[in-house]
Symmetry: none
Subunit: 222 residues, 4 copies
């Protein structure tokens, strides 16, 4: 798979090859977003892409690698979309992060339902990739609240937090998005408070109490 040499503009043929590659990737994304890995055949993907099935191995070296690449693409997009900003008050940045995450899921519903929000086996690249993404997300949220993400108790309950968010988002998508994204963000924040509170219950620290107060303060109507 030779790429264009640095410094020289890609030729027309290289562009066409890139286009084919992209078509295969898109088709794979589409297919893997609709059916489990084992149910998607190489022929399905090639047919969707409108190319010969041999090209799949040519461009991606086999079905499994293509799958991994699909996951990696979504992972990158999701990370880019939900990146936590660096300016503004803490709670506002938290809100923006959660809203961005939800917006991405809403704009990529199939992907969200069948890849991002799925849990699989430990060996599943989907699991690994998105799990890493969630870990980093949690770490960032903790950092925002002045918490140490490596505290065992907090790490445990933060996993519960992300699962709650994902499941809620899933149901929300599946049931026709009955609430505004802003409302769902509030739900997520409540989940976050619950998770921090849960961590506090099994291993109380001043930092956790302060974080809880920050979240509470932000929500004066409770």
């Amino acid at each position: 798979m030779p790429q264009s040499v640095a410094g020289r503009p890609p030729t027309r043929r290289q562009l066409a090859a890139q286009e084919t590659r992209r078509k295969l990737l898109d088709a794979a994304l589409e297919n893997f977003s609709r059916r489990p890995y084992a149910d998607v055949t190489v022929a399905d993907i090639a047919r969707s892409a409108g190319v010969a099935h041999g090209l799949l191995s040519h461009h991606f070296n086999g079905k499994e690698n293509l799958y991994a690449e699909v996951v990696s693409v979504i992972d990158r997009r999701l990370r880019a979309a939900a990146k936590i900003g660096s300016d503004g008050p803490v709670v506002e940045r938290l809100h923006r992060h959660l809203a961005a995450y939800l917006r991405f899921l809403a704009e990529n519903e199939d992907v969200a339902l069948n890849l991002v929000l799925r849990r699989g086996e430990a060996a599943d690249p989907v699991w690994e990739a998105f799990e890493a993404m969630r870990r980093e997300g949690n770490r960032a949220v903790c950092g925002l609240l002045g918490l140490d993400a490596d505290t065992p108790a907090l790490r445990l309950t933060m996993r519960g937090f992300t699962a709650a968010c994902d499941e809620t988002a899933m149901v929300w998508l599946r049931s026709g998005r009955p609430y505004e994204i802003e409302a769902l963000v509030d739900v997520f924040v409540a989940f976050l408070a619950g998770a921090i509170r849960a961590a506090f219950d099994i291993a109380p620290t001043p930092a956790l109490r302060e974080a809880l107060e920050v979240l509470q303060a932000e929500r004066p109507r409770g």
Copy 2:
């Protein structure tokens, strides 16, 4: 598959057939608890059971139905194990329910990690069965707290609650059960409070406020 006629005791052959059926079911449960559906072959199961693989179709009419039956068996066991009692104070019954659920998962770790706590496709019988189980569990918990489980907002956030519990239980199991079950129950209760609070945020009702107070009262140290 003729069953014993009512009133007449089962013949020796019928008993042997039941035994074979049971062996296949056990072997299937074992196998599906260790590897994903597609990775388990009929031959694997038959070998585990020590019977001819042709019998699988004979007794269960195909791999898929056997899978469904396995799920149904676990579902029944789980429901029986985590049934909410009818005596004692509300919070105590809630605790007992959550503790029983956790104990079941702990005592059936493979099943828990690979079947109960997994999320799959919408068409997956696992998903359907355990989802129904969770729905009923949520309904019972809501009933306990005097809440209407059919309120859209509550239904949504309760799904988040169960997901948080499941994920936390999963991590807990995978990381060697670093806490006592009682501590994890406290975590679950905190998640529950978070979920109710979240429901209150998007659709406040007096019942939700009261439920929150019940949960808070139970936890005077917060």
Copy 3:
């Protein structure tokens, strides 16, 4: 591939299965005797045998193993056919051995031309098996003549001897067997004398000289 339990006679079905296995083995032998390994497809063999191609993996666990089994079968037959007897004068036993070897090749011409008399890669099971057979044959012939088969020089030239025999047999078969087997045996004996003489040339020993004399004595007309 369950075999019949020792002590119990094989059932009819087991016999039928053995028959199928044999048909596949025969078909494979036939095919591998006509075309190189890579040119023979699993489908070819199954078609020749008149069974479904899936059975090949069922009975032999893949094409490669079937190939190895074919070689092993021929190897066994050839060893049995050319076994050196234990009675009679030395030169007579040598003659009988060589004649038996030739007769086997003549009666299995395809096998001879395409498997036995072929030289392949070092990794080829054919090569390994028949090479071992030749080594043992040489060892036996040396024993007969009171020679140490492990002398480096003799080991080297004996390889030349077997190669000469095989090539001659090959040409003889391909050209319509223009001589009697007995005449060819004489040729082989002359090759043997040449090989021993060659060994003597690079590393002379009394034993080699004596062996030469035994061979010469046997041929008073030269």
Copy 4:
């Protein structure tokens, strides 16, 4: 594949094309000397040559023809190397011929082991080419000794002779060349004597007897 027009010097492009052709041929020789035909892919060769694999069909019209050309190249080199001279005593010329043959094999070990010294199918171009080479070599050797190479018996046993030489050379190469080339030449001569003697056994002629005496005379130490 336009060639340079006679009389006009080749253009730069033609030279470059020749160079590419040569690179492919070298790479093919290298590859076919290491792995069997079927295991060498067009892509392998092109990669070794550092050119696009499409060029292979362009320059050689397919893998098979390239293979044939490789064989032909080696064949030419080998013939040139082992050409029998026309001056000096007979036995000396014989020695020089055999020594040159061995030297070529030693200097092209991979080629020797995997192409020259291999026996293949009748349809194999390697077989045909090298077989013809051996035939002509035998013919020359026979001429040297005043023998008629077309006598059926001699033709047969001379094939045995060449096979013995090749196999011995093969083992010699594989085992680290434990003897000097001169010693091996003696071995070859002994094989030759054996072959002539064998021919004499099945069809005695005065010429054969004389040839034997010439060879024997040359080796007074026996």
